[in-house]
Amino acid sequence: MNPNEFDVIIIGGGITGAGTQRDCAMRGLRTLLIERSDIATGATGRNHGLLHSGARYAVNDAESAEECIRENRILRQIASHCIDETDGLFITLPEDDLSYQQTFVDACKKAGIGAEIIDPELAKRLEPSVNPELIGAVRVPDGSVDPFRLCAANMLDAKLHGGQVRLHTEVTGFIREGNTIKGVHTLNHQTGEETDYYAPITVNACGIWGQHIAELAGVRVGMFPAKGALLIFAHRVNNMVINRCRKPSNADILVPGDTVCVIGTTSTRIPFEECDNVAVTPDEVTLLITEGAKLAPSLSETRILRAYAGVRPLVSADDDPSGRNISRGIVCLDHEERDGLKGFITITGGKLMTYRLMAEIATDLVCRKLAVEKACTTADTPLPGSEEKSYEAVAQKVWEAPTTAQKAAASRMGTRASRIRSANRRDDDLICECEEVSVGEINAAIDRMDVSTLTDLRRRTRVGMGTCQGEFCACRAAGLLAKAHGCVERERKDLADFLQERWKGNFPIGWGDTLREAEYTQWIYKHVLGI
């Protein structure tokens, strides 16, 4: 058997690609996932990390709302170690129309979302950070989800089912015979190697970049890039998700996640060329802080850790090239049917929340084409790490008397924390003090989760995501990477890239403690350590 031959090639290492690979692999297909950068580098890792209840869409988009609440329930079961079951509030402020609340609750009920009007006083007790001037509150089953962890867990499971993954590898063209896509040409950005891979079906799961991949295949998928800017605050100000109970607008969702919270988002149409390098503007920062403080007033006093932006993969309907009729729903294109191009499928649109459903739809189509009759089982098979619900129970099982750092590791890795049971006592040494990440956890990620760079490592372990933004841990982690990969030269450049990447998210909010920390980092690396 040719090692470069597969049943299906999936392009894109975001949540849609990872989910699709998992589903395909679980149905017995030989799968290859190709990603030009790292996992979750596009829209997957650049959103709120909100486990939507669907309530936000209930009034205007009943179909999305129903999809969300269904998937919400499924993810709680299969991805418990990626999810924080916080619940959410939809609050009405004096400047909002209180009569909208009833419309909202009715729409939620119709979509099957448990939405309960509660006394504003109770809302303040449940969520002390909420704006005390609220005049109405509805409780819904929102939550928060770690998209990096979710994406990594899907890919991990695909690999456990025999799937292969090529990160930092870009598809540069298609191998085409007549009207059929037979495979892809690729370039590995780290080794410079060019490789061809073959499969009867290729799935385009590249989010906004799907337009480009479709072009390479010779078909057109019209995408409409919409930038959304968000801010991460250095403390977990709120314990429940806080939304505004009004027509969806800018900066009206505040989501707690791990040790931080995230406010967003804005929505700006941008030219396609800007997708690779979206920047947050000072105006967006101002808007996010001002609107965010209306949800939780203490935000105006809270240190901001980072600013970032993602690009939503909105697709224009086929019969409407103007783009006015944009769908936020799931779009699965069978290019054989649509364009007469065999062996090529595009799965796009949708949301982080509905990734599993998107994967199911895409995999159903793949299976139909390959004449494989196997039902989807992703809705009731827990992801690796989620076999046990309570991370504290996991930590107890692994370590007997776990330290707070070990509990933190269990909350990130779920049941897979057993893999880091200290081979030697040095494995407990902390590399990242802000997020309490140990040598053992980092080595486990390097060994088993396709980590090439410090930034890859950050996405899998939270190293450098905390208050110091990598000032202290970057060097330490670079030492471990250099050892694992046996190449210091490469690690030196990697360290510089990592610092640059952190600065990119820091300077748009460069004042106060953020600027202090940045000055310190800049001084240390340049003048003291000598990068």
Binding site: E519, Q522, L529
Partner: protein
């Protein structure tokens, strides 16, 4: 105001000249991440050497390069004695790099790779000592924790290295020696049959903290009043003259003086503050020139010069601090609070020293 390098040097020099001074110091300052080299000091500074030597701090002057913690080389001249200065990067043929097992703040593999680029053969070995494992039991292994143990057990480390050493002509060790006993680095050098080079670690800097302690001891020995853990919060000014300052700990007891020196540092040390609209000086509200549009404060490239790091308080020729366009008659600004508004005085530790001596001279010439 400020007990970093600039404030300490000014305080010591003034005490030596018979002035009566007090220093208000928050505690932590830039000496905690001092590299050991006085960058931008181009000439052997006799005056500084004398001041330091009286405090028990030995410096040496030689133009050349020094080894940086990540294995690169940088130009250096005036430095603490801990820092070796080489004529060029190929300072050895074979090097033994010794690290402590479980210590992640000394970058031995980066050092080795950096040295190998210059044709120096390297071997890395890890030391494990029971005493250090006890250190680990009380928290993570960081420079100061190790240094505290090393004051007691450095001789055991020397024994271990003697056994490890083969035909290497040089041993590279982390800068974690001599925190309280300043003779230790010199004694290690004498005890090993190879040249010993101390390379820096992730801050806090052990030589920096030691320097800080020595300067403070010297200052207090000279009769200076060191107000530790306190912070100037307000100055009382009348017609361009400040007559007293209020501090955090002294409540309504104001500190009165003929002259005031502002050595409170840059953004990191909180000598300067910033919000989305401006960079300001919190005690006196001094003038700072910077672009109004925040977009111009930064260079998006991390590695490039950052404009915001250059902003500092305005001063006149004699370093009198300027407020609302007028130079305050008895207030001076020294050290990194100047940003790079006075490039002729240097940068970093060099700026701290040069500006401190300049103001001391002005004050001593007054009467």
């Amino acid at each position: 105001m400020g007990g970093g390098l600039a404030g300490m040097v000014a305080g010591i020099a003034l005490q030596q000249a018979g002035k009566n001074t007090a220093i208000v110091s928050m505690g932590q300052n830039a000496l905690h991440f001092f590299s050991g080299t006085f960058e931008s000091l181009k000439e052997p500074d006799e005056r500084l050497a004398a001041l330091f030597s009286a405090a028990g701090i030995r410096v040496h002057y030689r133009e050349g390069v020094r080894l940086m913690p990540l294995g690169t080389f940088k130009k250096a001249a005036l430095s603490l004695e801990d820092i070796d200065i080489f004529p060029n990067a190929k300072f050895a043929r074979r090097v033994l790099i010794v690290n402590f097992l479980g210590y992640h703040d000394f970058f031995s593999s980066f050092l080795a790779e950096g040295l190998e680029k210059h044709g120096i053969e390297c071997r890395i070995r890890f030391l494990s000592l029971p005493d250090l494992d006890n250190t680990k039991a009380h928290g993570e292994m960081r420079s100061v924790q190790i240094a505290r143990s090393m004051d007691r057990i450095w001789e055991k480390v020397v024994q271990e290295i003697r056994l490890m050493l083969r035909d290497e002509d040089t041993v590279v060790l982390p800068q974690v020696f001599g925190l309280s006993d300043t003779t230790v680095p010199g004694r290690i050098r004498q005890s090993l049959p190879a040249r010993v080079v101390f390379a820096g670690t992730m801050p806090p800097s052990v030589p920096g903290i030691r320097t800080q302690m020595q300067l403070r001891r010297r200052y207090q020995l000279l009769g200076g009043t060191f107000l530790m853990g306190d912070e100037a919060i307000r100055a009382h000014e009348h017609e361009g003259v400040v007559h007293s300052i209020a501090t955090n700990n002294l409540d309504a007891h104001y500190l009165e003086a003929d002259s005031f020196i502002l050595a409170t540092g840059g953004l990191f040390s909180k000598g300067l503050r910033s919000n989305p609209f401006q960079i300001s000086e919190p005690i006196l509200g001094l003038d700072i020139d910077h672009p109004e549009d925040r977009n111009n404060w930064y260079n998006p490239a991390f590695a490039e010069e950052q404009p915001y790091m250059g902003y500092g308080v305005k001063t006149d020729a004699q370093l009198h601090a300027v407020k609302e366009g007028i130079a305050l008659k008895n207030v001076y600004a020294i050290g990194s609070i100047l940003g790079n508004t006075r490039p002729e005085l240097g940068s970093g530790a060099g700026l701290a020293i040069n500006s401190a001596f300049a103001v001391v001279d002005t004050l001593l010439a007054e009467k």
